[in-house]
Symmetry: C2
Subunit: 403 residues, 2 copies
Amino acid sequence: MNIISGGVCAPKGFAANGVHCGIRKNKSKRDLALIYSEFPANAAAVYTTNLVKGAPLTVTKNNLADGKAQAIICNSGNANTCNPNGIEIAEQMCKLVEKNLNINANDVIVASTGVIGQELSIDPIEGSMTELVKGLGDHSEKAAEAIMTTDTKIKEIAVSFLVDGVECRIGGIAKGSGMIHPNMATMLVFITTDCNISSEMLQVALSDDVKDTFNMISVDGDTSTNDMVAIMANGAAGNKDIQCKGEAYDIFAQALNTVTRHLCRAIAADGEGATKLLECKVSGADSESTAKAVAKAVVCSSLTKAAMFGADANWGRILCSIGYSNVEVDVEKVDVCFSSARGQINVCKSGMGVPFSEEKAKDILGESEITILIELNSGEVYATAWGCDLTYDYVRINGEYRS
Amino acid sequence: MNIISGGVCAPKGFAANGVHCGIRKNKSKRDLALIYSEFPANAAAVYTTNLVKGAPLTVTKNNLADGKAQAIICNSGNANTCNPNGIEIAEQMCKLVEKNLNINANDVIVASTGVIGQELSIDPIEGSMTELVKGLGDHSEKAAEAIMTTDTKIKEIAVSFLVDGVECRIGGIAKGSGMIHPNMATMLVFITTDCNISSEMLQVALSDDVKDTFNMISVDGDTSTNDMVAIMANGAAGNKDIQCKGEAYDIFAQALNTVTRHLCRAIAADGEGATKLLECKVSGADSESTAKAVAKAVVCSSLTKAAMFGADANWGRILCSIGYSNVEVDVEKVDVCFSSARGQINVCKSGMGVPFSEEKAKDILGESEITILIELNSGEVYATAWGCDLTYDYVRINGEYRS
């Protein structure tokens, strides 16, 4: 498998674009994205478990009932959620794609992200459709920018891999930042592939994958109303159709996982206000649910997140969050260790503190990527969760979000 | 029932003191508290559900097995948790009380709060015992100060009430601030009463009460390792012993609730870095568990907390947190309203936004006590939860806590 450039346009037969249509006041920020497959594609998606669901998700779910899609349209700046006319607007967005790309409105995946509860006007979107479609091309980064809200960095990746000797590609873009605590689904992630795979197997691969990737990240514990990961597979690579589990499926799933893990880390590292990526690796658990619960509790702890911001090796907060993670852990067996590009330091052995150099710890925790290693010494199962530090900027951004 | 002065010393036969013994470097901050009952008292307590438990809690649980206590000793600046010699130190603290007050070490409630995982030396405590005991008197506020960590305000209250025509009193002090997300127990709260009540009924009253009070507050979602609420009843008021449920018990429970609700609000309002008390009142629920889950989800949402800090009427975040609260709610029936001393404003009706004056909303949310009213329109049950805003100071305090 190779990392390649091109994002969602790396797979054959895909084009993308992003423009400023005017939903956002800042004219230098693109706010409308389009991803298009020249060929009808198999498609799958997973959605937020929040009971409050954005109208675009309802429309997308209906459109994906047949496992087919050919385009993705997504705006930022307005979530089109909790609005009386939300469904109508989301359907109009699909109709505009139908009209301008000459495809069926039912083959459009529609998404929105931004403020909840403010009506979304179709006008700026309608007014920019010609420009949006005309500019379709090798512009994954424009689409990636157009779906950003408070994100500070474009998030995209692509890989190539061989299935039965045939080269296939998967590319993806993501939008994260705030209200990030996915559960059985996730924030906005759009993935394209030219691999030939049935929509059923695509759904299996995606649903399986998110359990260990997007469901294991958290920025602030708030599960969004508009989370969605959608994937389109147009088969343009020409490999033999993947219709069941087996060697070809495994290769595809592994390539998909490379894409999703990259986007996960990128989302966590670019969490609202974040200065540091936190990776919590739990090993020695007696079950997967225990390993995952512990890892998530640690990356979700406000106190631990703030301590990491301050490069303070306050490991007691990590023990504390393990203790309230709602799973049975023998806390007297727990070892904790901090690690970064600057080295590694043991701070807790068998649930008790061990002497360590505060200076060395500060040095290690000063890095922008920190790994918290937790050994439970109770089994063989491991899990990883990703998060970020809690900073002044998180408060600033969210104290004035709508202003 | 009347609110009276005196805190934990308001009930007959109780004395208190607080001194600086030297666990904290700041000499102007008291760090060792003692509460003493002249007479042996019935006692009850509830404790944290965190699997990592402070050593003092283990010792206190043993000492309260017989439902009796006569003194409470508590230090701040060090949690005496995750230390190899924690139990030994906590027992030594009880022994020091035994020696200096001539009571049994088994009748001592011991507590510690502060940094986890640093060994607590008995020396500063031992060295200050004479001064601590000598100064015992009507000094509830000194004890209240001595148990504070990052708290900015002393938290105390007392009430008087009549049981069978006999005047009784209940007084309490509390320590809150950070790592506040109690579950089946709470932060440090010490309550005294001269009411004559059996230790069994005292435990029933306390365990019942915390479900609606301390278990309904959250500062940061982190459940501490050292949470405890303890109550001593010395019977000095001379009322007929309360040994079962009935009118006298109800009066006692109501008085207790007045004390605990006051301390709850005080703890939430003085949460780490907080500028505002958030009170979320949920009504119209079909069950108590639904009402409580919704109320807690709202006061725990980082995004909602940050919006309240910025006086931003971003009600979509409230709908969002209701939606992920893990209980069945018909979101299309939900109404939301903000209220404060400056008035009241409806922002959401039947799950959708309603037009409102942003200026008026900003004015209402500018106050230091904000109530979020949520009507679920699905039943008759209600619940209240308390929290605080998320501010720059929370990040500052917790980024440099150990420094």
